[in-house]
Symmetry: C2
Subunit: 585 residues, 2 copies
């Protein structure tokens, strides 16, 4: 019974904090919800626009996912909803499949959210979260810079009223330059000032307010409200001057009301086209979320459960899909506002969902005159903080190979798109890791005079013998590295014609897998064929037990020795003893 409660609690963290929930916490969470809702409205509309979706889809993606995360999530501060990277990745995944504005496009986006959620939940239940470790820092950082640039370039289209064909950063820039003549001056007249206003607010408002005596937390929160002010002013401006008649693109009619339940189409061809982007969105969304969640949790010494977070984000994405939304993740700046405003429990997120629902029910008519330029400017300014070229130089100084992986991710993402760039970055990082891992440290060792110790012949003054070669491998034997040992032995045999014994020191070998065992068998066979006896020394107990289950020892001409000194003694006692006495005399 107790065990069941424990399992339920681990899968439903709401049971833990829910029972302690009281009026004071509720009031706190409500205040937070009001603040985050106000911040989330422009973001949800803007990220929907970025993903090529109608604005209401952004609102829908900011309701059910938040409630589901409140039930399943372990972070008290993570604010789930549409974010920049996953929105761009949604565009990149769906645009080749369907035309923007069609029901097929929306259906594909919904399906993408569904598959993303499914993948996250499966990773969570199978405890495969470790797979996300393979997004290295250089790849994640390079992706951020490239995606930031691509999104910023893409938003120049709504901000300046220049039509573009979409696509990669490179395609966007070419398209912007080509169509520069078609700029809509009224749109630019709204977009450019909003960009400047938002930049100034972001850079200076918090400092100004703090200087004026305001608390730091409140100042940070107010500084994030710039987009809301810009929205209100530009709506009034467009409506007042009737600029929608001058070619300024506006949001127009946003259907009011709550989303119905929708099921993504189960179309095998569509699913297989979306599978790869869904995997990448799942991993990237998760990696970004968990890192914010852990950073914020640490400040209050709270713990975030990485596996449960997979399940929570998965549930949030499935929820988004079923309620007409698109892929979601934990937002960086929103989560910080959530934290600074004092969110005490995930209920703050659920209350935020209610806030967005109220907007969807009653306030959508007010958004009619909202210019796309304002939304574009909001995104443009938000993503600039993702661009960081300095980190390439810093990384280069520390680790050139890592900097190469980073540069490759940036260049390929800018030229061939986010999916290709990401896969290439992950591939190169993994290749570099596997390369490193396939070359274990193997040393030829000799006896240190006056001792029973054996050390690397390249680094120490040691005594060796032409007949007896001693070798030490400094890692466990697994399939990626065992061939290296085999090759090394072959080389040593070819180079030492007088050799009659090889002793392999296994003091650093903690484990030998089936391929490692085959490698040792091959080494033994080849040495036997060449008239050389193969010995092992300092083999750990569990490994001997494992090898005893096989025929390895029966086929071996040499023996197993407790210490390396014992091994040499058993072959050539005179040599071992005379070296031991060497510096004693």
């Amino acid at each position: 019974m107790k065990r069941i409660v424990e399992i339920l609690r681990s899968y439903f963290p709401i049971l833990e904090w829910g029972v302690k929930y009281n009026r004071q916490t509720a009031v706190n969470d409500l205040v937070v919800a009001v603040i985050v809702s106000i911040m989330l409205i422009p973001q949800s509309l803007a990220y929907a626009q970025l993903a090529g979706l109608p604005p209401e889809v952004g609102l829908y993606a900011s309701m059910a996912p938040l409630i589901l995360y409140a039930i399943f999530g372990t972070s008290r501060s993570l604010s789930v909803g549409p974010v920049a990277v996953t929105s761009l990745m949604t565009l990149a995944a769906v645009a080749p499949i369907a035309t923007q504005g069609t029901p097929e496009y929306l259906a594909a986006a919904l399906t993408l959210a569904f598959i993303t959620g499914l993948i996250l939940i499966i990773l969570g239940f199978l405890k495969l979260g470790f797979l996300t470790n393979f997004i290295s820092f250089p790849v994640m950082s390079g992706l951020g810079t490239a995606v930031g640039l691509q999104i910023a370039a893409g938003q120049l289209s709504p901000v300046l009223g220049i039509p573009t064909g979409g696509g990669t950063f490179l395609a966007l820039i070419i398209s912007l330059v080509k169509n520069a003549g078609q700029i809509n001056i009224y749109t630019a007249f709204i977009g450019v000032p909003v960009v400047i206003f938002l930049l100034v607010v972001r850079k200076h408002l918090a400092a100004l307010l703090t200087k004026a005596g305001m608390g730091k937390g409140l100042a940070v929160i107010l500084a994030k409200m710039g987009p809301v002010i810009a929205i209100i002013i530009t709506i009034l401006f467009v409506a007042g001057f009737g600029l929608d008649n001058e070619g300024v693109k506006i949001v127009g009619t946003v259907p009011s009301g709550l989303p119905g339940i929708s099921f993504p189409p189960f179309d095998l061809a569509l699913w297989s086209q979306l599978a790869t982007p869904a995997v990448l969105i799942a991993i990237i969304g998760y990696v970004a979320s968990i890192s914010v969640a852990q950073t914020l949790a640490a400040k209050k010494r709270q713990h975030v459960n990485p596996n449960q977070e997979l399940i929570a984000l998965g549930a949030a994405n499935i929820g988004a899909s079923l309620s007409g939304g698109f892929p979601v993740a934990g937002g960086f700046s929103r989560s910080i506002v959530n934290f600074e405003a004092g969110a005490e429990t995930p209920a703050a997120g659920a209350f935020t969902a209610v806030g967005i629902a109220l907007v969807a029910l009653f306030l959508t008519p007010l958004l009619f005159f909202l210019p796309s330029a304002t939304l574009g400017a909001t995104i443009f300014v938000a993503v600039l903080s993702m661009v960081n070229f300095k980190v390439v130089r810093i990384t280069y100084a520390y680790s050139p190979t890592d900097a190469v992986a980073m540069a490759l991710t940036i260049i390929l993402t800018l030229t061939l798109g986010v999916i290709v760039g990401l896969i290439a970055g992950i591939g190169v990082s993994l290749m570099m890791y596997l390369y490193r891992t396939s070359k274990p440290h193997v040393a030829i060792v000799g006896q240190v005079p006056g001792t029973q110790h054996f050390r690397n012949i390249d680094r120490h003054e040691v005594v060796t013998s032409a007949r007896i070669v001693s070798m030490r491998i400094d890692e466990s034997l697994f399939f990626p590295n065992v061939k290296f040992l085999e090759n090394k032995v072959n080389e040593v045999v070819a180079e030492n014609p007088e050799m009659r014994h090889l002793i392999l020191n296994c003091s650093a070998v903690n484990s030998i897998d089936a391929s490692g065992l085959e490698g040792l068998k091959a080494v033994n066979q080849r040495l036997t064929d060449a008239g050389i006896a193969f010995h092992l020394s300092e083999v750990k107990g569990p490994i001997i037990d494992g090898l005893k289950k096989t025929k390895f020892f029966q086929d071996m001409e040499g023996r197993i020795h407790f210490t390396h000194f014992d091994a040499v003694c058993s072959i050539d006692p005179d040599l071992a003893q005379s070296t031991l006495n060497a510096s004693l005399g």
Copy 2:
């Protein structure tokens, strides 16, 4: 100048043995060539049939590749040419693209050989041979069993004269059972006795001949000549009784003469369809070849250069492609015959090519009545030795996870085909490896009373403190494992509310990549936020030098200490000293 000669010698091993070549070696190599040629004729015809290609293509694949390998190869015994696994993989790759017997089918096979060769050469020049290490023993062994079964099942069609639809092992068995009624009794009357004859010869002839006083080497060689005897007898039998009129399928007209130079079509769609199978054929062919080459080289204490072998096999495949052949690799049984017959240099291979050329020029009319059943029987018996289910049980006893990877490879290859099975096997092995690698050993340590040593609190009686937590990581910090450390620190912080200092012992850390550095920064940031000072102890010199290039130390509240004892002393000298004196009193 000397350097250029060295480079030339490393890329053209022929320069090394060629200059010492004399009449005695030549005579030796010529005798070997005659023996291997006789063995290679039925093999080359049979493997062409297995790959769905006309018989002459098998002969063509046994000329140019052998000469090119003689120039570039470093093994003195490896016999290059068509082999079972790559022939089946060629069938699996080309069959979905083109219909057997059409020029498109042949063009696709030629292109496959070209891409395979290109991949091998690129791997060789970029020294990427380590990638082939990632074919683990369970995958290679499982593949052998499954491919053996699939080929054997496929050859029941020519052996019994039952038409089948081809495909996977499962599809073949279903097809054989369904069409069993269409058996051609004359064909079966040839095929079944040949199978029995070959099995008996293979199993008993060598032993019988040795018993009769023949040298072991010669006995082994003669026992491999069974297929040639079977071919001669069945040709005479079919021709004598006119069985080709009774539905017995014969080889028919084999165009005589040498192949012209052919260029594979450069068709991007075709290349992208063949890319994945080409990578797999390159890797599998190489892994099988290098393992035979190394085993044989060891017997004479010779050395095989793994990287140069990539280039040599690549050249052989490109040669096959340009001269009308299909993918080739080093053959297991042929290489053993080559070795036993006493091949002294790779020239034996070049002479073998001349032997096959003479057959192609003058003897093809003799092959007219050769029944497909005989070729099928030859392959059937040859591949049976690849099937080994016992190894699954043996591996299970030693390492259950490896046995699972092996079983998965077998099952998926049998049901979904060799390409899917192979990719799944490699994928699962890599996942298991990455899982293991993503969980480094991290221990909480405490001071051993009476000493300055710190040991794992789970294994030793040690003194700990609620304020100072000591942690040791037993591996280098790389992107796959750094998240594990971060999570571990987060857990420890959440569990120890009184903690004010964390000391990370880095005695086993040999390297920290850019992701590892970011992880340490995150740990430092989170600890600082939680009011905990972060210290490092026993950091190796090169790592300190690397970290000094970054701002890491500036942002760190704690310090770097030479020994872990020093670290504790600097925080709480009383605790450290009293523990040190504990058992001295």
